[in-house]
Symmetry: C2
Subunit: 112 residues, 2 copies
Amino acid sequence: MKRTLSVCPKFEKAFQIIGKKWNGLIIEVLLNGECHFSMIADAIPELSDRMLAARLRELEALGLVDRHVDTGYPVQVTYRLTEKGQEIQPVLAEVHRWADKWFVSAAEAKIK
Amino acid sequence: MKRTLSVCPKFEKAFQIIGKKWNGLIIEVLLNGECHFSMIADAIPELSDRMLAARLRELEALGLVDRHVDTGYPVQVTYRLTEKGQEIQPVLAEVHRWADKWFVSAAEAKIK
């Protein structure tokens, strides 16, 4: 079994972004459409506001998220996925398919 | 924009496993077939042996990896994906597709 394997650097980079803690869940929420900060925060209760703000800045720097500031009273800030961000959807769809097959939900476990 | 969003717990659990640092890359290597410890270690140079051993134990406990011990001199330990582990392949395939579209490889960047 002498084989030399190596991992593609592009794959590694992509996985570091998509796989980074919270990023998948944040992108999942934003796939529903543009969101205010508080909507994302409410959808992922375990994620602190501070961490969410840091992640959104990173995702913006990576070109996955657009931050839109609507000046007014009060100032409204919305976040939306760029095309690059939206195209992560098939990855998340496959994660859903896998999860649905291999994990029993809490509700189903109670019935059994 | 008053909507209530929530993230599916099964998806969250799946993402915690697949997205956890190194797991995606380890699964990627094991998709090539059964591997000795050293082959996985060689394929992911930045990953320490200690961390790789810890991750393999976790993946085994989650039912994604089978550890096979072939007694003899020397003892041979091989790792392979279970069916549950193999079925992560479509997730990784979509990560590849996204990475190929959105990242310029180091080689291509040099040409441009």
